[in-house]
């Protein structure tokens, strides 16, 4: 720690979230999920379990609400009195939205959750003391707490299933908060490889586990500041901008015909996940 560090740090002090006066460079990870393509098959959720060493809590704890699925498929039904109610089911894959102005980051008493330069909301397991304020403040409730010590609980990873655990990811003990990380272990590996070759990660070179297994290709993931990436083009086509709490297209008369939206945008967390609204049968 020297005087130079001190002065440098102090000169940084007025910078707000990176997009304002220091745009993301070279990476800003973002996602786009097409709800029309999504069939609700849950493959993404299972892939996330496998990739990130998520514990399977069992039926009783699931019913209690103590489930650990970082990526959950939510089901909503229209209650419009139709003959076959199940016909109206809609599926929403919900995971940590990696908000640019995340409400969870400011409230952690020990600073276990912060914002990385490449636009992710980081969760540092060793620092977490389990106050759960971050989850209390999350509008999406996508943070999951380790209510029990799953590594030492029976039937979570019964013998030989523990061979399936991903060595790149920690196995969390009790009392720690966890959530979707956009498969940060894969991102870091790809970034490191690219850097050693003196280039930036190309679009499609790294995939999140959920994106990898999605059969209809509903999940698009990539670098939002790379103009050639699919996710950048999707966001642009839908006219959804990261740093806005109300999109210009939504202010138009009669609403917009574009399908892209972000959830709970008006609360201004600036989420990094865009959803493409399902084209409803009634709309055709």
């Amino acid at each position: 720690m020297s005087v130079t560090t001190l002065l440098e740090g102090w000169s940084d002090w007025r910078h707000e979230h990176p997009i304002n006066d220091q745009p993301h460079n070279p990476y800003k990870w973002a996602m786009s999920i097409d709800l029309d393509a999504c069939t609700g098959c849950n493959a993404c959720s299972v892939a996330c379990y496998a990739e990130n060493n998520l514990p399977v809590v069992g039926k009783e704890k699931y019913a209690h609400g103590q489930v650990m699925h970082w990526l959950r498929i939510e089901r909503y039904w229209d209650e419009d009195g139709r003959e076959f109610p199940d016909q109206g089911a809609r599926f929403l894959p919900m995971m940590c939205q990696q908000c640019e102005a995340a409400p969870c980051e400011t409230v952690c008493p020990v600073g276990a959750t912060n914002h990385t330069p490449d636009g992710l909301n980081s969760q540092i397991y060793n620092r977490c003391i389990g106050s759960r304020y971050c989850s209390a403040n999350c509008p999406f409730k996508v943070r999951y707490f380790n209510w029990y010590d799953y590594p030492t609980t029976d039937n979570v990873w019964p013998a030989e299933m523990n061979q399936q655990l991903n060595p790149d990811v920690t196995v969390r003990g009790k009392g720690v908060m966890e959530k979707c990380t956009f498969c940060v272990q894969r991102l870091r590996e790809a970034e490191s490889n690219a850097k050693s070759q003196g280039r930036v990660v190309r679009d499609g070179e790294v995939q999140t586990a959920c994106q990898q297994v999605c059969l209809p290709g509903a999940i698009t993931f990539g670098n939002l500041v790379d103009p050639e990436s699919k996710v950048h083009k999707k966001w642009q086509a839908q006219q959804v901008e990261l740093a806005k709490d109300v999109q210009a297209k939504d202010k138009e008369e009669g609403g917009s015909k574009l399908r892209g939206y972000r959830i709970l945008e008006e609360l201004r967390p600036y989420p990094s996940v865009m959803y493409l609204e399902r084209v409803r049968d009634s709309a055709i």
Binding site: G9, W10, W13
Partner: protein, 176 residues
């Protein structure tokens, strides 16, 4: 000449005050009413200030210093920690945000003020104090004591003054 202590006990504040006044106004050889007289009482008597003379209280300076330094120290510690040691962006807010820093600066301002005031109190009141050579438990009950230190020659004059103001008891330090 050696100095001895006398402790006179009164059960009436007005008489004790009158005794003190007389001691201050009379000049007695071998006795300095400024330095050698202490009044002890079970409750505080701000009225005695007029009679005892001007004795300033310095505790407030400790308070001021303590509060200001507490607040400044807190602000620089927190801002330094945020800017240097832990320069991570949180919630889209600036790295050194003023509203939360203000809250903590305010708390530590109060903390510094209280702690240093207590320190100032202990210093200014001279606590922990060495026990006086003459003390009566009655002082903590309901009587006022006047402790004086004087040369041998003045003892009788002092005793006379005390008796004149209806001292209940006069304790004398044993001769050396």
């Amino acid at each position: 000449m050696s100095q001895r202590h006398l402790l006179a006990l009164f059960d009436n504040f007005d008489e004790a005050a009158a005794a003190v006044k007389e001691l201050r106004n009379t000049s007695i050889k071998g006795f300095d009413s400024n330095k050698d007289m202490i009044m002890k009482s079970p409750i505080e008597h701000p009225e005695i200030e007029e009679v005892l003379g001007d004795k300033p209280v310095y505790v407030q300076f400790f308070t001021l210093g303590g509060a200001l330094s507490g607040g400044l120290l807190a602000f620089f510690l927190i801002a330094g920690a945020q800017a240097v040691f832990f320069a991570q962006s949180k919630g889209g807010k600036p790295i050194v945000p003023f509203p939360p820093d203000f809250v903590l600066t305010y708390e530590m301002f109060i903390l510094g003020g209280v702690y240093i005031t207590i320190l100032g109190f202990l210093i200014c009141a001279g606590l922990p104090a060495k026990r006086s050579p003459l003390y009566s438990a009655k002082v903590s009950e309901d009587q006022i004591g006047i402790l004086v230190k004087s040369d041998e020659g003045a003892i009788n004059t002092l005793k006379a003054i005390f008796t004149k103001h209806q001292a209940l008891e006069i304790q004398e330090e044993a001769g050396k």
